[in-house]
Symmetry: D2
């Protein structure tokens, strides 16, 4: 991160030192703007301000929270195009997908505006025990306190909104640290939120270094940590979390299984998107495709053909559906991984080319087990196509991974779908859709190294709430 | 009913006239015992006693209700064999199936013993509206009052228990009128219940004529009617129910669809049971089987062969799995319906023979649309086998009926199962099992002429409860 | 109704005869407009058109239903003032309350727009029984068919919306017959709905005579009846409903209990509104107030004083909070009931004056048990104030009624509130608020003669849906 | 722990070294028996055996799990007296309370036998988003893997059962390490479980040193940690838990508020039990009592009098209700804490005497803020009685603590109860009962330093399950 902070300005004050960080368009290298990084004392001030907002946030009625969340929806709608272009420019995400992301962020806030009215309270009799005769229990949920959210570059808007919207809906102040690569989208959202009736301190945008962020994680005034990013950082965070609740949305290595009886055309359509959307920089990017052996040869041809038809260009253009990666460093990492695989015997069906931060759509087959493109989260436009004989074999292959976010299966067989759902070691099994399918109200999250807990508005809300029992 | 009351004794008293009704074993015509039918004033006394039990029933804690229901379970277990034989003897149900029914009655009471501890109370905030700021709602369920249950002959134990167990679990007194053909099983249960801690008047067994029953239906001290029996009577009852809640479990004309990709052996096994168990005297008896045209010829052969292997004999014998019908009158009705069908062109693949109350396993094909065995509820060991070309056609054929209880589909195709579930006009769609599948906790009931409301312990309980809202 | 149809025009056509009915402002007798009443064949055409809309309505996704319902919200908002004035003019409801009603109708549609996304589907394992090993159940809700809604004059908008909004949310076409006294508000809503994306036939406004309405009730193409109105008509309707589901929201005779420890000022404020809002023409109008004997004398004085401060005038004026009744006929009925009570010994503390359709705020005490103002639903600006010694006595007094809609209690005692909630025979117990408290998402409805079933968006929806079970 | 292992025997084997630990009756110092502690490799073998049981446990149907849990209930019932006496002897818990504990353990297993049939699965439409049209979600819960439970000495049976019963109900193997002070009760339960149909490895009893336990905590084959014990150990465990789920039930410092309007006699009865049951060795022991200033003087007298009436004696005797503490070490700790308080100005109203492991019922007042008996978890028969002027002050006093398990309030005021529930920083607010009230189905657990997560059978089960989503 310090590397990308190409210029720095020291601002001496009683409390804080600010560092100015420039934001660069990864496609054309133009400077898009800059944000100031705060030092630890600046960050602590922000946490304090969030803590001070607790009583005001807690007192908000569902009517008020819903009103605020709908104001934010209106605010985003008013500046819709600006949001789309900011995302496209700072993250290199093609306009088409950036637009989809803004629409989803609106849906996420809308769901939160509805869910805040439906916080589930339990009410029950206690007379199942002789000792509880005439007694009733009421289990109600209250805001858990300050949420510290950390969001990644790949969905600069919606993956932050998946923390902000539930926090507001739950009545919790939230401090949000966006990726240092894509802070401008959050700056925009910040200005939208500032126009709503959200109590002061209810939402705090924090730009800081990872080191400062690490200090904040351990601060006792933070009650909930919600992190979306890399596993190494995530699991360390959990160990340092102390008494806090923790939600981790980490990486994946999503696989799709295409059975012999699958709707072939549907699988082809869906997996082309799954493999190459936003250059694979998606947690649930389709990294591995396992096809029944009778389908695999045809699929390789068709899949290569589809990948070749992608429209490469400026992400800000509505006609582009494939563009650069977030930075050259990552493109180089992909390049080395693909080279490692081919050196070890993998066959390159398409791609394998890099030019600066651009990495071309790449399809591999016969990839050795130990290759990084097989085992690690590739987070780039690389996909492996392999064949299987039996579903059992395919499932074992998918499960042979330390990751477990989502997996797809294409079939019309009830028996096969049931087996896949029962045995696949993932957070979500997607039937007849790409691994990248997600609607914002569904429970979303991974098992194994892929995460801890679930997001999806009402699921996230439960982690931001704390139950309290009344016996009366 | 008056016909089967072969002897009558007038007992003059201040309140009641009793009529003694003899109960005859339909298999060997031996007299099994007798019960006394009460007249209207006798019946009214029983309703009054139930009404008087309301406060005591309402005050029972979940712990007490659960204890009582478990005492009844223990009581049935102690006299298990006696229950089985009483059912087998008075209803002609083969020992094997009678045993299954007693086991199910035990499950039904057990579920009730658990569900009475889990009456769902809702608790919610009202601050979604500005007018409800700081206000909470609590929606609790209280016993609705006296239940009047009317149960049929074909499951003399468990279909009565499906009214008795939920009533006790809900805290409602229940008056139960069993079929006049099979009252002895209920006499046995009555003596078991009498040994439990159920408050006096909590369970009242009522033997009376249909005319007297009709008066009781309209009595203002009855709050809920739960009837299992014929549609004509059921729908009349609803019209006369006044302010009462009504649950009707009426007839059916269940159909099974066997798709081309079905597990053929499984379908054959399941449908043999579905068609001939207890001589088809089951509401969800498999009356119609629609097979894909490529399967139908083979199926006819195999199905006839299976039906021929049924062990016919005394219902009291554990080796019997096919026996007499409830009475000769019904066997004659079946005979005339089958004759009507064959006269109109239907082809008889097997059976069609009557001997007294016995009617042999009967399989028909090419049955004209207007035949009674196609359109009415046959309630006998008769099944129609037809073919279809497309699933759409099969579904339309199944739906071409005024009945809508349950239907089966045998397939491994997700698309076909989804279509069937979406389009079949029934209360329950059963995948890869006979139409007769039922476990006692599931919601059970029909649409169209087949019924109104759902049974299954916790679903029945909801009809015996009345919600009351507290705003505070 | 024929009386109020002051002019009639016979329109001969192949199908229908229309009768033109003039609508008169009850305050100033000015004609506000007219609607055409259809005859039976016209009504049948409308039912047929609703039936034809079933497939289109059933196919709507939650997204589409939600969009349509929000379009209606927008449409009402755009013509907000027009709605308020139409209600004020045709029903005589003061502007202030008419405005509140329009706001509530918007809330009702908004809740429906949210609830249509949350239709609860149950999913459960069946392996609690040995016979269900490996089996799962899924219980899903589908639209029940055509709803026939009949709504009253007193909330010409929101009580119709309480049928329309849930019907759309459930995916059911609805035919709505408004009161013949206040059809213009529905005409306005009809034009708003017409501008939405609701499929043709999804909403049908039906103006017809009661006789024609009675025929429609029994029509087999109607699947659900939802009636708000008088008990006599309601219960007759239930008897004639055949296989239909029925929801009845009938009259009330609401009572409030003010305990010795009550917040006196709060009780005074709330009950003034409860007793006199919209001249008591509200189902949950506070008709009886029972005060602890130590409070009653002071309360009589203060309550009379409050009632005297009401601002009487033109309902169309924002400053008015008390005005005429719906028609002179009803004002005369009230007059005679009050006279009956005073003749029998009741003491008049205030009011008792009539002038045309205007009846003044009236407070009575020492009212004999048998007086109509004590026992029947007064539906006018009359309230009875009595005293009690013990809470037990007060509860018995409240329960000594054939009605059971809502009741209030003012106390700070947990013991007293619990006792009231446990023992009051009503649909809703309201703590520290007027009996007229209602927010549109809460379950609302009565027991005893006051109704059958519950409204409140999601509760109404459940009556418009039919469960179907899938065993797989 | 090594200190209390008064004798040791080295058993050399290929895998393990066993240490023999003697168990001593704290009341009469008699040896009750001994258990063997395993070393690390022995413990690892046990974890491996649990891991191997995963598939068998996962395959159990609800019917099977329920059967097993009921078998355990039967097994405990058969040896009821033996359980009671083992608890009384090894823990020094008076017979009366030991009996209550065995009854509760039976209830806990019974609840689990019922809840395993009711694992909640969610089913929902995804068509609220345009992208989800026609799609459904199903969110099902699967066993999370091996549970490692660590239970304390004070409820040697039921607090272990609160981990074992939900684990079996959830289908998870469990390794249970009991307190080294009270392992014999678990040995007894182990032999009962061994007679059930639980698959081999489903339950594993582990006796080991804390050091070995610490290694096990970090073992990757463990998926869930459930610890009941001291906060220091608990929070360290959370930091070392890696990717595991963690539930912590730690200490408390429960306070009761007695308002001016309280039912005084009830408060006196309840708080005598809350303060002195099992010598205060209960997490929710009533350690602090705050009374309204008008009640405090009378209460001090009455409370001392009640405490003096306790029957001190052998815990194995049914007439005893007060006896020794778990060991002399703890009695000495209490002694020093009380001395510290009195030295700092606290006034001793009763007790303060120690004799070996016996510490007499002790009541203090005017205790300085900084005293350990005020701030730490006393876990002994010591209670502080103080007065307050306003409820606000009392709540602040209760909240002025790093603990937050349960708190009681005695009042009849709705306003006061609402305020207490809203503001008390605890897991459970108990109205008109001792702080020690717990029924085994309720959610139980603390906030602040008192814990993380909730137990209570169905709440614990949710932590032993992992959700998996199916989109279809």
């Amino acid at each position: 991160m310090s590397k990308s902070a190409t210029a720095a300005k020291n601002v001496k004050s009683i409390f804080c030192i600010f560092i100015l960080m420039k934001i660069i368009n990864p496609y054309n290298k133009k400077e898009l703007g800059s944000v100031e990084l705060v030092d630890l004392s600046g960050a602590l001030n922000k946490v304090k301000s969030a803590k001070n907002a607790e009583p005001a946030m807690r007192k908000l009625s569902a009517f008020q929270k819903s009103t605020i969340l709908n104001q934010i929806v209106d605010g985003i709608n008013k500046r819709f195009e600006e949001f789309v272009l900011t995302i496209a420019r700072e993250s290199g995400k093609p306009y088409l997908y950036a637009k989809g992301e803004v629409q989803r962020a609106i849906e996420t806030f809308t769901i939160a505006a509805e869910e805040c009215k439906r916080i589930p309270h339990e009410s029950f009799d206690l007379d199942a025990s002789a000792r509880g005769k005439g007694r009733r229990g009421e289990y109600r949920y209250f805001p858990a306190g300050v949420v510290f959210g950390i969001s990644p570059f790949n969905f600069p808007l919606n993956l932050a909104v998946h923390k902000i919207a539930p926090a507001i809906a739950a009545g919790c102040p939230i401090v949000l640290k966006p990726s240092s690569k894509t802070p401008l989208t959050m700056e925009l959202l910040n200005s939208v939120i500032a126009e709503s009736d959200l109590p002061e301190g209810g939402f705090t945008l924090l730009h800081c270094s990872r080191e400062v962020g690490n200090e904040i994680i351990q601060h006792p005034d933070i009650n909930v940590l919600s992190f979306t990013g890399s596993p190494t950082i995530g699991w360390e965070m959990k160990a340092k979390a102390g008494k806090k609740k923790v939600v981790l949305e980490l990486g994946g290595n999503a696989a799709a299984i295409v059975c012999k009886d699958a709707n072939y055309g549907l699988a082809l359509d869906e997996l082309t998107v799954g493999a190459f959307a936003y250059s694979g920089q998606v947690c649930i990017h389709t990294q591995r495709i396992y096809l029944h052996q009778e389908l695999v040869d045809q699929f390789k041809k068709d899949f290569v053909s589809r990948a070749q038809q992608l429209t490469v260009g400026d992400p800000s253009s509505p006609s582009t559906n494939f563009s650069v990666m977030i930075d050259e460093q990552n493109a180089k990492r992909i390049e080395s991984w693909v080279n490692e695989a081919t050196a070890a015997g993998a066959q390159l069906l398409l791609g394998g080319n890099r030019e600066g931060a651009y990495y071309s759509p790449t399809i591999l087959t016969n990839v050795p087990k130990e290759a990084k493109v097989r085992n690690e989260e590739v987070f780039g436009p690389v996909v492996i196509v392999e064949s299987f004989e039996s579903l059992q074999e395919a499932i074992e292959e998918v499960n042979d991974s330390r990751w477990g976010l989502q997996a797809s299966i294409f079939t019309d067989s009830i028996i096969q779908l049931n087996q896949a759902f029962d045995e696949l070691e993932v957070g979500g099994v997607i039937h007849n859709l790409s691994t990248t399918f997600r609607v914002d109200e569904m429970p979303y999250g991974g098992v194994k190294d892929s995460g801890f807990g679930r997001e999806g508005v009402k699921y996230a809300m439960m982690d931001y709430l704390e139950g309290k029992l009344l016996i009366r």
